[in-house]
């Protein structure tokens, strides 16, 4: 009550309050450290524990993978402990020697330029699509979704009439297979997932039931099982002559699996769109498909962008499971190479695993960073 007596009963401003610049912020390294790392006893303890942990884990890591590592050599002898290097570390020589196998699998050596060209064409397409300020992105999409698949098929499988020797898919392997499986999975799962998600919300009962059955069935079964079924059951239903190639069967399995997950992700986005948006779109005379394409999906996909990328990252790593139906993806090539008697040793296995981890991490972290930047861009546009 004492404070209230200080409040004037009447107040009239005599002069307008000027707009002033904000006070200088307390900047500087020292201040940052104190504010962020040493602000309280608990924070100080956490900081010290982290420093100890880093001091414990990083030096041996560096010693094994860099300082004591063997960088060149022609067999396991080079990587074994020797008087010159008693504590032999990682065997990068192994990766150097086998690198082309990791990239191409058994793809004929004389034809590997075709794979390189495919990588280039794919990188070009991805760059065109993902670089949001790129010119003529609609042509980029046309290139990516129509031209590139045809070009890739001709390049990789071959077309004898024009002088490209045919290369059966059982010779494909390594990063080539991983990239093909992941790309096909992503490119098909998004549109299929969107259709399934729309189907699940459809007013037409049959469409709804079919969508729900597909989604729930595929989602309720492990990817390995889906791959097995695609690989073993498909030939039972399709006549021998039309039975698709082994790699194609795995691709179908992966695409089906990914689209079921994508459907649920997209459904979450659709559920976030207020009813008023549907009503406004209907009221101006848009038909169902135009309303969906022009008003609902653009908003739903933006909301779910982080989840879509999350699904893509999961899919990219799940491609390693295609080995189960006898396909030599990147991970599988590393495993077979480390089992080679000329190279087999503990450090080769560890190095191979580390190399695989590095590859998958770089790809997935790239996707994650791109998604984060795209999200920021959308936020800056000041929607909602």
């Amino acid at each position: 009550m004492a404070a209230m007596s200080d409040m004037p009963v009447q107040f009239l401003r005599q002069a307008p309050a000027d707009s002033l610049p904000p006070p200088p912020s307390r900047a500087g390294v020292f201040h940052w450290l104190r504010a962020n790392l040493f602000s309280s006893p608990f924070n100080i303890a956490l900081t010290l524990i982290c420093i100890l942990f880093i001091a414990w884990i990083v030096p041996p890591f560096l010693r094994f993978f860099v300082i004591n590592a063997t960088w060149s050599g022609n067999d396991r002898e080079a990587c074994l402990p020797s008087p010159a290097n008693p504590q032999a570390g990682a065997c990068w020589a192994f990766v150097r020697v086998w690198l082309s196998y990791f990239v191409y699998g058994f793809y004929p050596i004389g034809q590997r330029w075709r794979v390189d060209l495919f990588f280039l064409a794919l990188a070009f397409g991805i760059g065109w699509l993902l670089w949001l300020k790129a010119p003529r992105r609609e042509i980029g999409a046309l290139y990516f979704f129509i031209v590139l698949p045809i070009l890739s098929l001709i390049l990789l499988s071959g077309l004898p009439p024009i002088g490209l020797a045919s290369v059966p898919t059982n010779l494909w392997g390594g990063i080539l297979v991983t990239i093909v499986v992941a790309t096909i999975g992503m490119v098909f799962s998004l549109p299929l997932g969107i259709l399934l998600a729309l189907g699940r919300r459809s007013h037409i009962a049959v469409v709804r039931w079919l969508s729900i059955t597909f989604i729930e069935f595929v989602r309720g079964v492990p990817l390995i099982t889906v791959l097995f079924m695609a690989s073993v059951m498909l030939p039972l239903f399709v006549p021998e002559r039309f039975a698709p190639d082994k790699l194609v069967r795995a691709l179908i399995g992966v695409a089906m699996f990914a689209s079921a997950y994508m459907a649920e992700v997209v459904r979450g986005g659709l559920a976030a769109i207020p009813r008023g948006q549907y009503e406004a779109a209907q009221a101006i005379g848009l038909t169902y498909w135009r309303m969906t394409a022009l008003v609902i999906l653009p908003q739903a996909l933006r909301v779910t962008l982080p989840n879509i990328v999350n699904t893509f990252i999961g899919l990219f790593k799940d491609t390693t499971l295609v080995f189960i139906v006898g396909i030599f993806d990147f991970q599988r090539t590393i495993e077979t190479a480390s089992a080679d008697p000329r190279w087999a040793s503990l450090s080769t296995s560890v190095t191979g695993a580390a190399f695989a981890a590095l590859f998958y991490f770089v790809c997935c972290y790239g996707m994650s960073r791109y998604a984060a930047r795209a999200e920021m861009r959308l936020l800056r546009r000041g929607r909602h």
């Binding site: 207020p274 008023g276 948006q277 009503e279 406004a280 779109a281 209907q282 009221a283 101006i284 005379g285 848009l286 038909t287 135009r290 022009l294 008003v295 653009p298 908003q299 933006r302 546009r381 000041g382 929607r383 909602h384």
Partner: protein
């Protein structure tokens, strides 16, 4: 597309009626929300519908462009009978503009794109013509300078005026307003009402669900009072406000006018 009867006589008689509602009944589950609604709205007529919340007035309005379905009764809009046929529904919606309480602008599109969407995709208008048309209506609602902004950057009153411009871009014969000022801050109500008054002077058919009694007095040809899903009273604004006939109308007006 529009199924209008041939011959001058039929056209004349049709042209006089913008909306005809015959013995309309609607239930939400067990709840009888619209009861035996009969209404004829002449072309160019301006009607304000008022009534307590839950009286079914918004639901009635939303039936006119088939945002709601109904169980029995008929609705004929601009000579087109509304059935479950999607073609008929779209034909009616091309003719009927709607403004919502919550604006419902498309947040991912700029103000200009909000306005050109339907002309481009429903009327198949070239983009440049659609933009010229949109600018014409944005100027009429006095916000042409906001055309390139996203709706989130606009005030509520500005958003509602964009929503009006968006509906006008389809050159509708009939405009439906569902409580257009109810979610606006007080200082923005007037700018939206002024826009609607100006629109009324153009002779467009308007059906407005609103509690703005001043607006009703100024522009309405007829005022409708609804309660419990029924039309209780219809009258000219002067008689409606000065000599309400029904007891429930009197009670309602006492509450609203105070």
């Amino acid at each position: 597309m529009e199924k209008r009867p041939e011959g001058p006589r039929a056209e004349a008689s049709r042209a006089e009626i913008a909306v005809e509602i015959i013995a309309l009944n609607k239930w939400f589950g067990e709840f009888h929300v619209l009861r035996d609604i009969n209404l004829k709205v002449a072309l160019g007529e301006r009607i304000v519908i008022c009534g307590p919340s839950g009286s079914g007035k918004s639901t009635l309005l939303r039936c006119i462009n088939h945002l709601e379905t109904w169980q029995t009764g008929r609705i004929v809009v601009d000579g087109i009978e509304l059935t479950d046929d999607p073609k008929q529904i779209v034909a009616v919606r091309r003719d009927v503009g709607m403004v919502f309480q919550q604006f419902n602008l498309f947040p991912h599109l700029t103000v200009l794109e909000n306005c050109t969407l339907a002309p481009i995709w429903v009327r198949r208008m070239p983009k440049r013509d659609a933009e010229a048309l949109a600018m014409k209506y944005l100027e009429r609602v006095k916000i042409p300078d906001q055309a390139q902004k996203y709706p989130a950057r606009l005030s509520g009153g500005q958003q509602q005026r964009v929503a009006i411009a968006r509906a006008l871009c389809m050159n509708p014969n009939i405009m439906l307003f569902d409580e257009p000022t109810s979610s606006l801050d007080p200082e923005m109500v007037k700018e939206v009402l002024d826009t609607m008054v100006e629109l009324a002077s153009d002779g467009i058919t308007m059906l407005v669900v609103s509690h703005e009694m001043g607006f009703a007095r100024q522009v309405a040809n007829r005022v409708i009072f609804m309660d419990d899903g029924q039309i209780v009273e219809i009258n000219e604004p002067k008689s409606f406000f000065d000599q309400p006939q029904h007891e429930r109308t009197r009670l309602f007006l006492q509450q609203v006018l105070r």
